[in-house]
């Protein structure tokens, strides 16, 4: 459009130069003004009609996009904060659970240790008791053996002494006493 109007402007300028002088040289020619006005109007209408709406539309779209992005960013931020809070809660819960697990483990270990110590002490007591019983039984057995041995030796010695000391007369007396004792027996 401008290229199409340019030769008209040049022709109008040439005619104005030829026809005027002085201050008129500084003022544009009427035709030039008209042409300029028309050109300006056309450009203005063009700009008003297509460029501005397109620019508005582009700006609106841009604004909307920015707003959307901001909203999205806000959402993402909130989501991030929510996630952060969740993580913190989970972390706190995990710490609590970890502490509980550690406490449970400590309690279990304490109970297990106490149980093992108790069992070991009971077993040690049992072994000590058994050893005492065995020692006492062995002592009794040895004492019994010695007693039996002493009794056996005493009897052997007594038999020899008695056999040597029981003379004919004593033998007769023992037989007579036996016969007398038979009298007290019932058939």
């Amino acid at each position: 459009m401008i290229q199409f109007l340019a030769p008209l402007v040049i022709l109008a300028e040439e005619a104005a130069v030829e026809e005027s002088g002085g201050i008129d040289l500084l003022l544009p020619e009427t035709s030039e003004l008209i042409a300029g006005f028309i050109a300006f109007s056309i450009i203005f209408v063009f700009v008003w009609k297509w460029v501005l709406p397109a620019a508005d539309q582009a700006l609106a779209a841009r604004q909307e996009a920015i707003t959307g992005k901001l909203t999205q960013a806000e959402g993402a931020k909130q989501e991030a904060e929510s996630l952060l809070n969740d993580y913190k809660e989970q972390l706190a819960r995990a710490k609590g659970e970890a502490n509980e697990i550690v406490d449970d483990a400590r309690q279990t270990a304490d109970a297990l240790r106490a149980d093992l110590v108790g069992k070991a002490e009971a077993e040690a007591d049992s072994i000590r008791g058994k050893a005492r019983e065995d020692a006492a039984a062995e002592k009794d057995r040895a004492a019994g053996q010695i007693r039996d041995e002493v009794a056996s030796l005493s009897l052997e010695l007594a038999q020899k002494v008695v056999a040597g000391s029981v003379d004919e007369s004593a033998q007769r007396t023992l037989v007579d006493r036996y016969i007398d004792d038979l009298g007290s027996l019932e058939p």
Binding site: G144, A151, L155, Q159, E168, L174, V175, I179, D181
Partner: protein, 179 residues
Amino acid sequence: MAADQRIDGYAAAIVEVAKAEGELARVGDELFRIARAFESSSELRDALTDPRLPTELKKGVVDDLLGSRASALSVSLVNFVVSVGMSSELPAIADRLAERAAAERNKVIAEVRTAIELDDETVDRLTTSLSRATGKDVEIKTVVDPSVVGGVVAKVGDVVIDGSLSHRMQEIQKTLTRR
């Protein structure tokens, strides 16, 4: 059971022979004493029961030992037992013979062990006392046994009446060892 029946059979046979000869009491008494000697003398026991020694040699031993101490019938009967290979059962046969001989007279045998030889008067008193104590008419067979030490051990059937010093000492030993 078979051995017991054989012992009983030999005892019955000897009883019949002794009865026929009219020497049952004597033979019963002598065989009882021979049996006790057999029990107490390991040398006599070994000589009569050794399977490697011939029977004739065993009979010679019997003749040498008993020839002058027992009746000819008793020696013959012992030789008979030895010749049939029943030497080891001689005490059992003699005991069964004594029981049968006593039973013939309606008596039971009382085996009396003492450390000394008993006189006839003492044997009579013992017979009376044992008969009264057991309620049976007993016939005493005495055995001199030094292990008795003193006193008397009487056995009538399964009943033992022990009044020996060795028994009392054993009782004392039991008391000592029980403590």
